[in-house]
């Protein structure tokens, strides 16, 4: 497993500290060589400057990277008369580049920028890539090795070889070796045996970039190497197709979990109660806005405690459940209970309600998207083989599964769940047994709405928090519930996953929009075949 988390602040701080410590430790030893290297810059001869870049990069001095960056930004200056090199920092203060001290007396009269041209720019890029290969920060070294693999500039080879010698991390060492192989394959003077070995290394890497590299070998490559590369590409192709399949399945699973998240509350209100709640999407929206408000509170009121912001999502889950649930209970008591047995009227009334809720949110929060930030434990990504897995998707899948199991548990093991099932199966009998059916109706609807609210918390992480948030999910949610079969939570689960995966497999073939259209048409056809969905309820309950 290769790790490359971006935004890993602690690591960066550590790196800076280490760099400073190193600077103090090795400065006396290295000073001489950096001074020699810097001497190359006191000229306007590009060839001489290029030698300087190579020398600075090879000096191993911790300041080498910042000096080359200064050269890149046009902040490196020289005085031909005094044979000295200077640099300016961000604020414009002039420093002596050799002893790294600010110039106190006046600036030299003939001071001039060290010029660069395109050729030098390439050298600079390569040198900077090579320099970060030695960075104490693991993630930086990894990125640098990957960058070299992609650019495979021949002049980084010494730096790569030096880095391979020093590298202790097996994963990065492998990447460095791959980068070296990429350079060798593209260099003119490497031996045929070396190149064949390099092909094997690239073959072992086996990703899309490797295929591109082996397909784009230079023209003068020996025939044996070309043949080996061709065999490797063929082998990698079938392997990559499998990985592609796996990646698509992962995307599909991820989309499926989003669909499930959006539809799971509907599975309760529509599936269990038979209420067509067109305002379901707005419950999701309310959940997302609750997340936004809680995050704002954490940002402003508890600014002193930054951990609050990190965990505001955790707080938002119960809050969204309670608020959306209460709204749901209100809707049930205020409107829906008058419309039982009239599903088409319920549909219209709840649609009207959704318009009111949307406009209400639009008037109080504004029509624009609201920013909900992702906590650090949800950002970043990692690779499994050639699969790229982002943390937020992983969290959402886990969260959805947990929510689904929790809901199954509530329906199966709690008293409320028992009463809910009793009321949906036979209302009159349940009432005769002393269950207050009105209360159960309100609570069931509240549960479904509350779960939609929780879905809103999760969806705020991957979608825009706007008054239209819910609208985007309503048709999909209904498709999932209808496809899976009304009144069956497992049907909803299977429906969501099937639609998610089917969508992601159709997308690369037909494009996103056509894929979606195809799915809609397939569902329409499917409903003709099985009007009650994948898992239809059997028996008399169907007719009720």
């Amino acid at each position: 497993m290769r790790l490359c988390r971006s935004g890993f602040h602690q690591g960066r701080w550590l790196a800076a500290l280490l760099a400073i410590a190193l600077a103090f430790a090795v400065a006396p030893l290295r000073a001489a060589s950096l001074e020699e290297a810097l001497a190359h810059f006191a000229t306007d001869d590009y060839g001489e400057i290029e030698e300087g870049i190579t020398a600075v990069a090879g000096s191993g001095d911790p300041r080498a990277a910042s000096i080359i960056e200064a050269l890149q930004d046009g902040r490196l200056l020289y005085s031909a008369e005094r044979k000295k090199v200077y640099y300016r920092d961000g604020s414009g203060t002039l420093f002596d580049a050799v002893i790294d001290a600010a110039i106190t007396g006046g600036e030299p009269a003939d001071i001039d920028t060290v010029g660069i041209n395109n050729r030098l720019r390439r050298a600079i890029d390569a040198a900077l890539g090579g320099l970060t290969l030695m960075s104490p920060d693991r993630a930086k070294r990894y990125d640098a090795a990957q960058a070299v693999f992609k650019s495979h500039e021949a002049n980084v080879l010494p730096a790569i070889e030096a880095a391979i010698g020093k590298e202790t991390d097996a994963g990065i060492k492998r990447t460095l070796n791959e980068a070296r192989a990429a350079i060798i394959l593209n260099s003119e003077d490497a031996s045929e045996a070396d190149k064949l070995a390099a092909v094997a290394v690239i073959r072992a890497r086996g990703d899309q970039d490797s295929v591109a590299l082996l397909q784009g070998l230079p023209a003068d490559t020996p025939e044996d190497v070309v043949a080996a590369a061709k065999r490797a590409v063929a082998a990698m192709g079938s392997e990559l197709a499998l990985w592609d399949l796996a990646q698509n399945a992962w995307y599909g699973l991820s989309l499926g979990s989003v669909l499930l998240l959006a539809a799971i509350g509907l599975a309760i209100t529509f599936g269990v109660m038979g209420v067509i709640n067109m305002a379901h999407g707005e419950m999701v929206m309310i959940g997302a806005y609750v997340t936004f408000v809680i995050q704002e509170l954490a940002r402003t009121t508890y600014a002193a405690a930054p951990r609050m912001l990190e965990y505001s999502l955790v707080i938002a889950v119960p809050a969204a459940f309670v608020i959306a649930g209460l709204v749901g209970v209100l809707i049930e008591r205020g409107i829906i209970r008058f419309l039982y047995g009239r599903p088409l009227e319920t549909l219209l009334a709840t649609w009207g309600l959704s318009l009111i809720l949307q406009q209400g949110v639009r008037t109080s929060f504004g029509p624009t998207n609201r920013e909900v930030s992702a906590p650090s434990w949800m950002s970043g990504a990692f690779d499994v083989g050639h699969l790229n897995i982002t943390y937020n998707r992983l969290w959402i899948i886990c969260f959805t599964l947990a929510l689904f199991l929790a809901l199954l548990g509530v329906l199966r093991f709690t008293r409320l769940g028992l009463e809910m099932r009793a009321v949906t199966q036979n209302r009159a009998m349940a009432a005769a047994m002393g269950i207050r059916t009105g209360r159960i109706d309100a609570l069931t609807f509240g549960l479904g709405s509350g779960i939609a609210g929780i879905a809103g918390v999760a969806l705020s992480q991957i979608d825009n928090v706007s008054p239209n948030l819910g609208q985007g999910y309503i048709i999909d949610s209904f498709m999932v519930v209808v496809f899976g079969g009304v009144g069956n939570l497992w049907g909803t689960f299977l429906g969501a996953m099937t639609l998610g995966i089917a969508n992601k497999f159709l997308e690369p073939m037909a494009g996103a929009v056509l894929g979606k259209i195809a799915i809609l048409v397939l569902i329409i056809l499917f409903i003709q075949k099985r009007p009650r969905g994948l898992f239809a309820l059997k028996g008399r309950a169907v007719e009720a």
């Binding site: 067509i276 067109m278 409107i335 008058f338 419309l339 047995g341 009239r342 599903p343 088409l344 009227e345 319920t346 549909l347 219209l348 009334a349 649609w351 009207g352 309600l353 959704s354 318009l355 009111i356 809720l357 949307q358 406009q359 209400g360 639009r362 008037t363 609208q471 048709i475 209904f478 498709m479 209808v482 929009v513 056509l514 979606k516 259209i517 809609l520 048409v521 569902i523 329409i524 056809l525 409903i527 003709q528 075949k529 009007p531 009650r532 007719e543």
Partner: protein, 394 residues
Amino acid sequence: MTALLARGLLPALARKRARAGTGVAAFVVVILGLAVAVPALNLAVPPESPFHVPTYLVSLWGKYACYAMLALSIDLIWGYCGILSLGHGAFFALGGYAMGMYLMRQIGTRGVYANPILPDFMVFLNWDHLPFYWWGFNSFAYAAVMVLLVPGLLAFVFGWFAFRSRVTGVYLSIITQALTFALMLSFFRNNFGFGGNNGLTDFKDVLGFNVQAAGTRDALFGITCLVLAAALTMCHAIVTSKFGKVLVAIRDAEARARFLGYKVESYKLVVFTLSACIAGVAGALYVPQVGIINPSEFAPANSIEEVIWVAVGGRGTLTGAILGAVVVNYGKTYFTSGALAPYWLFVLGGLFVGVTLLLPRGIVGTVRHLLENRRKPEMPDPDPRPAGAPAPAE
């Protein structure tokens, strides 16, 4: 049941039928009156007179008349056969596109790119020939046939599958919604060949008359009113015929109607297809008056809004659908053209909730109900459900 029928239901039905007959006749007269009066007030009365009707109002009312026809088509299937289509906007839009394609071909060399055959957007997309489905649209007769044929055929195929597999109630509503959603996504695509996002617009002529001219607008308004009156008369004839009675039977007790030997699927299919054709004609009349047709007409939200017009006016009354469409759209124009614009969705949402909860019969249905109760106070309403309301859901 039979006792009930003999005692009250049959005479009550007969009374209702008579009253509905007079209501429809009155509506037809009013619509025909408008068809003459509005163009006359626009053309013959000088602009400074308070009785003058400006041309933009003629087009606006023409738009309402098209919406009324669309509402009528929805009432025919929802009010009398219990089929709630949440995708009727699709048939309206398809009719509109068929007319729009004819109007596009009439632009000829007056387009920005002055291509005699290809519409501007095709030139823009570097298409070098007219796709086959655009062939023939330079002929008005062909376009007019397509206006009926395309929505009718889609409704026939869709209904053929849906009704035969007994997809009913909410399921049907949801798949009709999926249908219009799928069509919207398709029409938004540029390579689908219908102008993508922008749709079809910049029309110049219809049958050789300038679409912008006041006279053309007046004529279009008059024609729309005539067609609306004809559609109303036709729908009334259908629902009062034996065929219509079977439809109501299907609405109230589908299983029973089937057991009595009626081919429920065929009845539904015929009325659904007919309704789609009426919607298509409404769309075709709408496009030259509004001057544009684009994929947003397919939006599922539009189709749901169209249903509320019928509910406001009173479902199962035909005249109510017309009234509801005009009232709601007038309200929409009133609200969205001023400072009240942000509140329109509150009003519309409130209408949905209020009408279903408090006024389930709609305006016309409630008035009829009140009139009936006043005439015959001693006889209790044999049908406790709202006029035209469905049986509890299957």
